[in-house]
Assembly symmetry: C2
Homo-oligomer: 326 residues x 2
């Protein structure tokens, strides 16, 4: 299996990418190869700093780089030699099995949609992200790709999320919930109330009803469906609360030997644990990471990519949408 | 000043109310009187358990109680003798200056709207709640009263929130931000993008632009405007993350003498710090608390009520809406 990694994605590129890739090669299965996509001389030098170049690591040259100043929709046309476009095209051509990038989220979404194309029957591909909870992680979908959603889009997110959790997390029957402001059906705004009715009778998913904000981290569901506006606000809020609290705890514990005491607290708050967010509903495995990803998050995003490939996620999603004739 | 407190609101009523009221009388200004509204013999007995009845504490009998089983809209008709309805009517009649309840949020909103009436010019009264941050608290408005909002409603929330922060928190010029998924104007869904344009040219408020989920707890604004769906999800999520993290920390620290080490962490996470959520835009001071409020939250909600009364919040809100002819 070959995973392409954008070596020029993070704010501190290529160092976090290189360290994440090197770590992934150590801890993941031996049949996994990583292709670093970026300015080859720069990336090669960054790897060489850490020792001889591992056998399962290779390079693919992409001289250009997407920046925050680039309008996402114009990247394909204006930066065809950027690591994002080159990496996605490698994937589309079948030369790699997945693409991971911590570059511009907007550019990754736009380029993935254009190059990998939505699966037949999928109106709105969505970004999904695993949130840490006190139990197993919950997949939040959509985490920001679609800010105005109709009920049928939210139902599609439920399917995309279910297939993803089945194929990558080995859950036989993922519990799907609808993010709402009350537990009873009929609660919420118009779109959400109608979505509840649709999900309640939708075949192929295990709908467990509404989940409120207070129950998200209590491990009440495996897939949490919401529109990309709410999802994005929630995700960024969680990350910041986590960041602030962990920062405070670490400051308090500096120089003390008690960090381990708080490991389960850190665990619940550590979004880097789950690394990246796949764009679901396109014809490939495209994983989007934070610009601020540390090496651990990059490594875990690579692991997510390998799971999606191993689980044949794209094929099963395509079948799910063909079968349902949605 | 007389504050009426629903003695039968919390899940453990009347104990948290009684303790909160007794504490408030100790720590707040000496001109504050508290009227406990509820089944008088029950409430009186609960107070007597803690010693002689303080001079500035009195009772107002209300034999009935709103429960979770009561439909909010029917409370006025079906439970006219409930502590919520009796307490709000006391306020409406001018016998008390504010009413605080930890009873059913829905019933408090419906009864407050009906008994206290919306202020002229206010289309949608909204629930506002203070969120702890690493700096000064931020007022989230709407926290759940209005799940489908138009841009002009959100602009009204900005005014209601600004007046509240000016009159109760002594901020001369509260910074108003719009909750969004990006910093640039034009970001977000249709309603939010249009609201941004309206706020940018709205007189009488200090609009500082969009704030993302990640910046909420970083003390970037004083008033954060959003619809009641997003606000409610966010608020409940914050409370639950806070609850889970604080619970984990306390468990770790049980029997150790290090709780003080983490006081600022607890402080950021302690929503009880700010106690209650006022329903803004009605002709009175109506403060809604959690059903699970501990005495400290009740005491702090009483304090919020006294500040709103002292600051003549209702009068200033009414003037703001009359002046703007919105």
């Amino acid at each position: 299996m070959r995973i392409a990694l954008d070596a020029m994605g993070t704010d501190l590129a290529p160092e976090p990418e290189v360290l994440g890739a090197l770590d992934a090669l150590k801890v993941l299965d031996r049949d996994i190869e990583i292709v670093l996509v970026g300015d080859e001389s720069v990336v090669r030098a960054a790897v060489a700093k850490h020792g001889p170049i591992p056998e399962r690591l290779s390079f693919h040259h992409a001289p250009d780089r997407v920046t925050a100043a680039d309008a996402p929709a114009s990247v394909l046309r204006k930066k065809p030699e950027s690591s994002i476009v080159v990496g996605l095209k490698l994937h589309q051509a079948g030369q790699v099995d997945a693409f991971v990038s911590a570059g511009s989220t907007g550019a990754m979404m736009a380029a993935s949609l254009f190059i990998l194309r939505p699966l037949p029957g999928v109106d709105r591909p969505a970004v999904a992200t695993l949130l840490p909870t006190i139990g197993s992680p919950v997949l939040l979908i959509d985490a920001g790709a679609n800010v105005d959603c109709k009920p049928q889009h939210l139902v599609q997110f439920a399917h995309l999320g279910s297939v993803y959790m089945r194929r990558t997390m080995e859950l036989a029957e993922p519990r799907v919930a609808l993010l709402n402001i009350g537990e009873e059906r009929g609660k919420g705004n118009e779109v959400i109330a109608e979505t509840h009715e649709l999900l309640a009778k939708e075949p192929g998913i295990k709908f467990v009803g509404n989940v409120e904000g207070r129950d998200i981290i209590r491990d009440t569901c495996d897939v949490l469906v919401c529109d990309g506006f709410v999802g994005n606000v929630l995700l960024k809020f969680y990350e910041s609360v986590a960041g602030v609290i962990v920062g405070m705890l670490k400051k308090k514990l500096a120089g003390r030997d008690e960090g381990a005491l708080f490991e389960d607290v850190f665990h619940v708050l550590d979004y880097a644990e789950h690394g990246g967010a796949p764009l679901l509903g396109v014809g490939g495995v495209s994983i989007i990471c934070h610009g601020g990803s540390p090496p651990k998050a990059i490594r875990n995003a690579i692991r997510l990519a390998t799971r999606a490939v191993r689980g044949d996620m794209v094929k099963h999603s395509a079948q799910d949408f063909t079968a349902g004739a949605r």
